[in-house]
């Protein structure tokens, strides 16, 4: 039983978290709706003028398109690699499991600037810098652990005898994989793919290192602009980002149900 005072503490913490987590979003949303020329909260009057402006800005549009391309490439690369790796890690007894798990922790321990510079050196060596696909591949590489996690948490939740049951039904190895294992972890694959897409869409540091002036992605473009002057159009762009993220969550809920996502470790 939870006592009354425990209840109060828990709910205070919940509300504190909700407010602190959503405060920046609310501020940026307010600022983007301003009728004035300055980033301000609360906004001075309400208008959609800044949304109109960003909808017409060619450089923003192109950077947005590039970010979409990068995110798409990253997702397409990550799906097969992440799915197979996630399955291998959770459904087969592998040697070096500990080593692999350490590797999966790397994104939290190695600063992105480190891996970013590493990738920059590699791609520079191959003379492929200057096109978009290396940025996509780089985003896939640095965020791969997320999809691997997503898939393997979906896979460990499955009955360990699932594949044996498929064999017992007469399915060979390939059929078992195609008809049973893969569809059964599909929620994890979908979750992981959306995560990869959003992370690549938002990826700043690695994009900064791997792009030049001709191929800036949206986060890099925003960064370049705030170095000169902060105008409310950037707030509007941020809101667009937030809307995309919300759309991804909505899609996730439609496709696999959020409870799976919340249950996964």
């Amino acid at each position: 039983m939870i006592s009354r005072s425990q209840k109060i503490v828990v709910w205070s913490l919940v509300w504190f978290s909700i407010i602190t987590l959503s405060l920046p979003t609310l501020v940026v949303l307010g600022a983007s709706l301003t009728a004035g020329n300055m980033v301000a909260f609360p906004p001075q009057g309400l208008s959609l003028q800044w949304y109109e402006k960003i909808a017409l800005a060619r450089d923003l549009q192109q950077a947005f398109l590039r970010s979409l391309i990068v995110a798409t490439i990253a997702t397409i690369v990550a799906i097969p690699v992440g799915t197979l790796a996630g399955l291998a890690l959770s459904r087969f007894q592998l040697r070096f499991t500990t080593a692999i798990q350490v590797w999966l922790m790397l994104p939290f321990t190695i600063p992105l600037i480190g891996s970013g510079i590493g990738l920059m050196l590699v791609f520079g060596e191959w003379h492929v810098l200057g096109s978009l696909w290396p940025v996509g591949v780089a985003c896939a590489v640095i965020n791969l652990p997320f999809i691997i996690w997503s898939v393997s948490s979906s896979a460990v939740a499955l009955d360990p005898d699932l594949e044996l049951a498929a064999q017992n039904c007469g399915a060979g190895r390939v059929q078992t994989f195609l008809h049973v294992t893969l569809p059964a972890v599909m929620p994890g694959v979908i979750t992981g793919s959306l995560l990869m897409f959003i992370l690549a869409m938002n990826e700043f540091l690695v994009s900064l290192l791997l792009t030049d002036a001709r191929i800036v992605t949206l986060p890099v473009l925003i960064y370049n602009s705030i170095r000169s002057i902060i105008t409310p159009d950037l707030a509007a762009v941020s809101v667009v980002f937030i809307v995309i993220a919300l759309a991804a969550i909505w899609l996730l809920d439609k496709l696999v149900g959020l409870e799976i996502f919340l249950k996964s470790k």
Binding site: L158, D159, D161, L162, L164, A165, A166, Q167, N168, C169, G170, A171, G172, Q175, H179, V180, P183, A184, M186
Partner: protein, 372 residues
């Protein structure tokens, strides 16, 4: 690996499954299955009964082909099974945790073996419907698996295992997770379906009641070894050793030495009959079922009993249809358990009360003392 019975591998072979000297060693210390040998006739319902960890699942998985015996041979329908990949065996299995396909509907789960085994696609819907009918799930074909109750999922698993009409049905404790009422209902269901289809079935359980209720034959296993194979009645009446006597039913054990007419325990002669020949004077163990011991007021009517002793009630448990007494017998320095029916007729004996206890010689089974 003698080829004795594999020679008669004809289509009309009455023997469905034979195991010969089967070992399974995972290399983790004790062997999971040791020298298992049994045979099962076509159409029979066999239950493998044993405590947890006794090797039941391992034995079943070797029959299904998921594990290869370290030694020995398993014949299915007269043919050595090790040459046949698991997905080519004509064996249907219901797994302990069911292992239903979560991304498929009820109908798709049941149709899956038919698709994989290349049944005529036009035949599939009819067959699926027939088997869903058999397990009484006719209205549920479009449901998702996680929208079903435990008992309904159970039935889907059974339909999936039976739909391709395997030579052999394997059940790995599929009822263990159900509550008692539903479990007993499903036990009768298993029995009904098995009799209706006549499919040879091997069921695994640690529930002695289930084994007695559903089976034509029981194998009791302990620590990887088969202790006895017999019919339920035979197993109950004539346990082959103290372990079986202990595992099935409620028995009391008396430790002493073999005499000409029974067993001497702590200097007191107890009438009994030996299961195996034991030379007089050797250490021996007697076992007697709680329902074979009679209890009466001191000097009460225990006519016909070959042994009558006095004792004190040390405890009693009310089980509804009967009372279970624990009676301390000072002469034997031991406590025996006694079932006493129809307790409503008289007030139960109080704790500490002195009572008379007796039994017939044929009911005290005498085994050689374990020399392990």
């Amino acid at each position: 690996m003698s080829g004795g019975s594999s020679a008669e591998s004809t289509a009309g072979n009455p023997v469905a499954v034979v195991a010969q000297g089967v070992d399974m060693d995972f290399g983790t210390g004790a062997m999971a299955v040791k020298n298992a040998a049994f045979s099962l006739e076509r159409g029979r319902f066999l239950t493998i009964l044993g405590p947890s960890g006794s090797g039941k699942t391992t034995l079943l998985r070797m029959i299904a082909g998921f594990q290869t015996p370290t030694r020995g041979t398993i014949l299915i329908g007269g043919r050595p099974a090790d040459a046949v990949a698991p997905h080519r065996r004509s064996v249907g299995m219901v797994f302990q945790k069911l292992a239903l396909f979560p991304h498929m509907t009820v109908e798709e789960n049941v149709a899956f073996p038919l698709k994989m085994r290349r049944f005529n696609p036009r035949e599939i819907p009819e067959r699926v419907a027939h088997y869903l009918d058999l397990v009484r799930l006719a209205g549920f074909s479009k449901r998702r698996i996680n929208a079903l109750s435990g008992g309904q999922q159970q039935r889907v698993a059974i339909a999936r295992a039976l739909v391709f009409e395997p030579e052999l049905l394997l059940l790995d404790e599929p009822l263990a997770a159900l509550d008692r009422k539903l479990r007993e209902e499903m036990q009768l269901e298993f029995r009904r379906i098995q009799k209706e289809l006549g499919v040879t079935t091997i069921n695994v359980t640690h529930d002695q009641r289930e084994a007695l209720v559903v089976s034509d034959e029981i194998i009791v296993m302990d620590q990887g070894e088969i202790q006895q194979q017999a019919s339920p009645v035979g197993m109950y009446r004539r346990p082959a050793n103290p372990f079986v006597a202990h595992f099935i039913g409620v028995s009391s054990f008396l430790t002493g030495r073999r005499t000409g007419t029974g067993l001497t325990v702590n200097g007191t002669e107890c009438a009994g009959q030996a299961v195996d020949d034991i030379a007089p004077g050797l250490a021996a163990q007697g076992a007697i079922r709680a329902e074979q011991v009679r209890i009466a007021a001191p000097g009460g009517d225990l006519s016909g009993c070959d042994t009558v002793l006095e004792g004190q009630v040390s405890d009693s448990i009310f089980e509804g249809e009967r009372l279970l007494y624990f009676v301390r017998l000072p002469a034997l320095e031991t406590t025996v358990q006694i079932y006493h029916h129809d307790p409503a007729e008289q007030a139960p004996y109080a704790r500490g009360a002195t009572v008379s206890v007796g039994w017939n010689a044929r009911d005290l089974l005498i085994f050689p003392a374990k020399d392990r």
